[in-house]
Amino acid sequence: MSIFVDDDTRVVVQGITGGEGKFHAGQMIEYGTNVVAGAVPGKGGQEVAGVPVYDTVDEAVEAENADASVIFVPPAFAGDAIFEALDTDLDLAVAITEGIPTQDMAKVNKRLGETDTRLLGPNCPGIITPGEAKLGILPGNIFSDGNVGLVSRSGTLTYQVVDNLTERGIGQTTAIGIGGDPIIGTSFVDALEAFEADDETDAVVMCGEIGGEDEEQAAKFIGEYMDTPVTGFIAGRTAPPGKRMGHAGAIVSGSGTGTAQSKIDALNHAGVPVGDTPEEVADHVEDFL
């Protein structure tokens, strides 16, 4: 079992003719993902990474029965690309693009509320169900099949934690990067809810970071609704207020909201142990299993 993607997922890659799109479409296919099409305006009729390219997502869905999209479109056009995915009624759209203007994402977010499509990201590494499918840029070879669900705002931090788990022989059901932007589609709560409903997932790791209040909401959700044990990690304890720590969303406001401490306190209050180091997170997971 897994959440959101499996070996039945049929993927269209938006922006497949660009450098990143082409490279990662190849990587996804190599991993075994069912990539069925690309979509790039003006490039219809071409073939990239062995799959046909269409001018629109709509055509790709019509012709190849795609039900998910991965978006590798430059920031200036990525908002539009997400709208295209949402308006085509896909089940899932994964936006990898980093640097989409926040006001574009606010407009996307508004539409998102009116559709049934799940959006992952933007500014995320994507999602992987080990051995079945990966949609995004995660390095497939570090993941292994297992019973731990992982949800994180950051790519490389996810890899670090996975590495620590792998050393102990612990694999994953699904690992999800939800993205480091201030406005994102799928939230921690959405992912936790899906892991809670998944029979195979016996423990969950959530890696949060400073900024916003998603982790606090996640803590509340865990306390009220989850039986599956969760452990957490929060990055950015040493971040000064008002400074953007790489991710556009990773910023502690001047008023002191979005601090690491408030998130750690909220998680602890909900009974979620938070590791001081990635290694400690793996310790907690081991205790759960």
């Binding site: 570090i142 480091g180 990690f233 971040a239």
Partner: protein, 381 residues
Amino acid sequence: MKLHEHQAKTIFADAGIPVPDSRLATTVEEALDAVDEIGYPAAIKAQVHVGGRGKAGGIKIATDRDEAEQYAEEILGMDLKGYTVDSVLVEAGVDFVDELYVGVTMDRGEGEPVLMVSTEGGVNIEEVAEENPDAIAREHVDPAFGLHPYQARKVVYEAGVDADVALDVASILSTLYDLYEDSDASEIEVNPVMITGDRDVIAADAVMNIDEDALFRQPDLAEMAEASYEDDLERKAGEYGFDYVRLSGNVGIIGNGAGLVMTTLDLVDYYGGKPANFLDIGGGAKAERVTQALDMVFSDPNVDSVVFNIFGGITRGDEVAKGINEALAEFDEIPKPVVVRLAGTNAEEGMEILNTDLIEVEETLEAAVQRAVKNAEEVTQ
């Protein structure tokens, strides 16, 4: 990206928002010329990106030429919370009877812009928000549609702004929302809006932050932002295109991916050290990027030791190691001890290739950080 008060006020004035008469001065002479033109009382305001400038001594009101000279001398060149004041805004004093707060910002939780108005202006609005949240009226705006004019009026009335100036304040708020949208701002704030005895409404301060991710379509603002770097290293990082934040410690940090770099900072602190910076070199680790990153940390005089942590995912560890070796060859000497840790795909192969004559190598993140902290301690002893 934060604009300076004088930059934001120029934008406000161009958009038709009333602001006090003002001149920018970088020397005492220029400041005196400015007050001669503007008259008294005149405010002399430090132009640095620091909140609470007034309390910190960065804003003074001069009532005559002697005072103006004295304050300009005091403020120009002063150190304000770590920033050197290079310029002051000399501004006509406003004889006000009332102060308001108005602002537009993005409510992340809702994913929508929000208008905010409070009659408790002129003080730290964060404190107001904390102690008396009801004193701030809020109105969310549909980002796809934009602002309905009634919404600006509604929030102003709801805040309890005096009826005789309410429509003028609403008009300013409407203009601020237009600016927010047109300039891809992440935040616009006027604190205070002053109400004069003649019931004029004037924007006496101006905070305007621009979404860095939108600068590609805001060329004029990008130019202003360029001019508003306050730290040479931050300027250099801007040129290299790195995500960089300077901190006050002595352990330099280079890594890839925001979350992992933040974690490395946190671990430096956890093991008793003090992080000197956040530096994310992004995906891969091409020799050129590594050279630039090392140049950044080596040219920070506060840095005594460096930890370099790369998780190779798609980019393999051996490729990363080659990049690091090539980069190290660019330097005549390695001026500060560097601890490298590679993880992920082909990490072991990468570690074997690394030129350990020039750098130290550790296998785990925890060990690498501890060693860098120890190196820094040895330098400072």
